[in-house]
Structure formats: structure tokens, C-alpha cells
């Protein structure tokens, strides 16, 4: 068997193919990031609109973020069992914590003139948020998403410690048990490549969503 074949050969106790593990990893990573984004958008709007709300939200968020992922997983086992949800809830909260400040900062970077112009054109709060402030905040939001996504990809692997919910991380426990370094290389390299790939996709998304930014720099 060639080295290449062995690299993609997953031990049979995982009951999964290499591609299956990659798909699982994507699922466990992207679903929480998506949920985090969906929750952060209205929360960011509220925090930017009601200034008194921002410091307490930021405080609670920082405290949640300080709870280690393994400890967080463990607390949840009692409630959600050894299921994917146990891994997904903490990752959703981490994403939320990174994104809310990013959205608030992004919205604060919208100039007063722009806001006034939108209001003068008859935009209500929600429409101004969706069509003016949010697009201008895209670079800040994507910067937050990049941090959240890339760290989620690698945090998922810790899920193996709480009952084989680690997707590619499950290769790591097999690497230890059977003493097969190649499996550990497989996990580390694949996770790193997935992280860099997702990061590149987000950079691409930013370029597509903010066409004016490129024109401004080339001018």
C-alpha cells in the first residue's frame, strides 16, 4: 500500500471513511459558526443602538469565553449527553462572543454623514441596518468570523475526549491507542488545511461582498 493510500486509510473502529470524518468536521464546525452569526446580528444591532447594553453584554461574553472548551463540554454532558450538541453549543457561544464586538465596532465605524444620508432618504432603522450599516461593517464582521471559524475547526477535535465526538480528532485517540504517528499527522495536517481553506474562503467572501473596497485601494 502506498503512503498516500495509508494516509487516507481510517482505522475500522471509527466506522467512517476519511471523507466521512472531513464532512463530520465541517458539520461540527460550520453549524455553530452559522448559529453564532445568526444570533450575533440582532444582538449587535441592539448593542450598537442601546449603548448601555454593550458593557454588560461584553462582560458576560468575556466570562463565557474564558471557560475552557473541555470544561464547557463536560458541564454540558449532564444536560445534552455525549452528542454533537454538546460540542456545538460551546462553539456557538465562542462565535457569538467574537462576533458581537466585531459587529458593534463595525457599525460604529459607519460615519455620521452616511447614517444621516440614509435617514434623509427615508430609511427606517431596520432597513438602514441591513442595507447601509451592515454592508459597511462587513470587513469587521468577516475578521471576527475568520477568528471564530479557524479556532472552531481545531476545537472540534477536543470533542474526542467526551465520547468520540471529535470528528477528525477521533483519529488522535486511535493514534495514541495503537501508537500510529501517521494517524496523528493525518489529523493535524487535515485540520490545519481545512482551517486555512475556510479562512481563504472568508477572505474571498469579503472581497465579493465589498467591491468598493478594492476600487478605493486601486485608485
Amino acid at each position: 500500500m502506498s503512503f498516500f493510500d495509508r494516509f487516507f486509510q481510517v482505522p475500522s473502529d471509527l466506522q467512517n471513511s476519511w471523507w466521512g470524518l472531513v464532512g463530520w468536521q465541517f458539520h461540527l464546525t460550520l453549524l455553530p459558526v452559522l448559529w453564532g452569526l445568526l444570533l450575533a446580528l440582532p444582538l449587535g444591532l441592539l448593542c450598537a443602538r442601546f449603548r448601555w447594553l454593550y458593557p454588560p453584554v461584553l462582560g458576560v461574553a468575556t466570562v463565557f469565553y474564558a471557560i475552557p472548551s473541555l470544561a464547557f463540554f463536560v458541564f454540558l454532558i449532564d444536560v445534552t449527553g455525549e452528542t454533537p450538541i454538546t460540542v456545538e453549543i460551546p462553539l456557538t457561544i465562542y462565535t457569538l462572543v467574537v462576533l458581537v464586538p466585531a459587529i458593534v465596532d463595525g457599525m460604529r465605524s459607519v460615519s455620521e454623514e452616511t447614517r444621516a444620508a440614509a435617514t434623509a432618504m427615508g430609511f427606517g432603522t431596520l432597513r438602514r441596518y441591513l442595507q447601509v450599516e451592515l454592508p459597511i461593517a462587513v470587513p469587521a464582521i468577516i475578521a471576527g468570523l475568520r477568528v471564530a471559524t479557524v479556532s472552531s475547526v481545531s476545537l472540534v477535535s477536543i470533542g474526542v475526549l467526551i465520547g468520540n465526538q471529535g470528528a477528525l480528532g477521533n483519529l488522535l485517540s486511535d493514534a495514541m491507542n495503537y501508537h500510529r504517528p501517521l494517524l496523528a499527522w493525518d489529523a493535524v495536517l487535515t485540520i490545519a488545511v481545512l482551517g486555512v481553506l475556510l479562512d481563504a474562503l472568508l477572505v474571498l467572501a469579503r472581497r465579493l461582498l465589498t467591491p468598493w473596497a478594492r476600487k478605493a485601494t486601486s485608485a
Partner: protein
């Protein structure tokens, strides 16, 4: 039993409070690994961040490096290095340092870039040499942001040092890993409470440090 019940069982056991598997020993081990990793990461991250931030060169390279480092899974790296090198301090330290350098490096760079150029010009105009401009003007103004970078690095180290127990090292992760394999849920919860508590204590420590170190003038302007 619920979480509080498990935690009570764990913390009320008198034998938990002494011996080689007692809370004081495990806590001390955890703090020791964390401090060592943070010190190494600061020795690498701070000088490079200060220098590149001061000169303004290499920002793109730093950002690319930080993304690549963030994509490396700490747990995977730990397992890989342990299999390759055997049990030792190096396989535990490398992932922790790799985790902590990017936030320190990138925030230090950005903190230095964010210093108002007018301040630097004024200091130069007053005849301050470059070294004094760096130490007495740029650094104090950039300090709050630099400290926030070190804070996130420290918290990530404290969180991640837990996994060292998986490769039969000490620290607070021992309770979680042993408890999971022995199906002793009170141990698991007790360990998780201790790690979360230590992370929050780290947060509080940095809040205090920022109050003490940041000059009142800088604080007011923020």
C-alpha cells in the same frame, strides 16, 4: 445527581485537599505549565511585535503567520509530538506556545500601529531619541491593547493546558481525563469547575494588572 451535587461530592471529600493527586498539587502544576508557556510566548511575541509595530514593516507576513498558527490544532499537535518524542515537557509546551504567540504578536503589532503619529512626532520634536520614544511614548499608549493580547493568550493557555492530562501529564485536566475514563462524574465536574475558576481568576488578574499599569492619562482618553 446534578452538576452542583457532583461538585459538592468532589469538593467535600477531605482526601481531595492533599497528596500528589490533591487539588493544591494539581492547581500548582497547572499554574506552572501555564506560566512557563506564557513566559516563552511573551519572549517570542513581544519583541517581534514591538519592533514590527514600531517600524510598521511585516504586518502582512505577521497576519499570515498568525492565521496559519491558529489553524494548527493544539490537541492534535500535543498527541503527535508525544507519539514522536515520548512523554516530556516539550510536547506539552510547543502547542501551548504556538497557541499563545499569535494573539500576543498581532495585538502588539496593532497596538503599536494604533499610536497617534502626532504623539510620536511631538516626542521626536522635543528631542527624544528613538529608544525613549519607543519606551516612554509608544509603549505606554499601546499598553492597554498589548495587555489585552497577553490576556487572551493567558486564558487560552489555561484552557488548553487541560489537555496535557491526555498524554499522562499533570495539571487540572487530570481530574477530567481520569474521571471520564473511570466514569466518576463528580471528578469530571470538579476538574471542570477548577479550570473554569482558574480561567476567570486569570481574567480578574489581568483586569487588576491593567488598572495598575496603565497610566491614568491613557485610561481617560479611551
Amino acid at each position: 445527581m446534578n452538576l452542583i451535587g457532583f461538585a459538592q461530592t468532589f469538593f467535600n471529600d477531605p482526601s481531595r485537599w492533599s497528596g500528589s493527586d490533591g487539588i493544591p498539587t494539581r492547581l500548582a502544576e497547572h499554574v506552572e505549565y501555564s506560566l512557563l508557556a506564557l513566559a516563552i510566548a511573551m519572549l517570542i511575541g513581544l519583541p517581534i511585535g514591538l519592533l514590527t509595530g514600531h517600524t510598521g514593516r511585516g504586518g502582512n507576513a505577521l497576519a499570515a503567520l498568525a492565521t496559519a498558527a491558529r489553524a494548527l490544532p493544539s490537541f492534535g499537535l500535543l498527541v503527535l509530538l508525544t507519539i514522536m518524542m515520548g512523554l516530556g515537557l516539550t510536547p506539552v509546551m510547543v502547542p501551548l506556545v504556538a497557541l499563545a504567540v499569535p494573539p500576543i504578536l498581532v495585538t502588539t503589532y496593532e497596538a503599536m500601529r494604533g499610536v497617534d503619529p502626532a504623539l510620536v512626532d511631538a516626542a521626536r520634536g522635543m528631542g527624544l531619541p528613538t529608544a525613549r520614544v519607543l519606551w516612554q511614548v509608544e509603549l505606554p499608549v499601546a499598553l492597554p491593547l498589548i495587555l489585552s493580547g497577553i490576556r487572551s493568550a493567558a486564558i487560552q493557555i489555561v484552557s488548553t493546558a487541560t489537555i496535557a492530562a491526555y498524554v499522562s501529564f499533570g495539571g487540572l485536566g487530570r481530574y477530567i481525563v481520569d474521571g471520564l475514563s473511570q466514569v466518576r462524574y463528580d471528578k469530571v465536574v470538579g476538574g471542570a469547575v477548577l479550570v473554569a475558576g482558574l480561567a476567570l481568576a486569570t481574567l480578574a488578574f489581568f483586569w487588576l494588572l491593567t488598572r495598575l499599569l496603565v497610566s491614568p492619562g491613557v485610561r481617560r482618553s479611551r
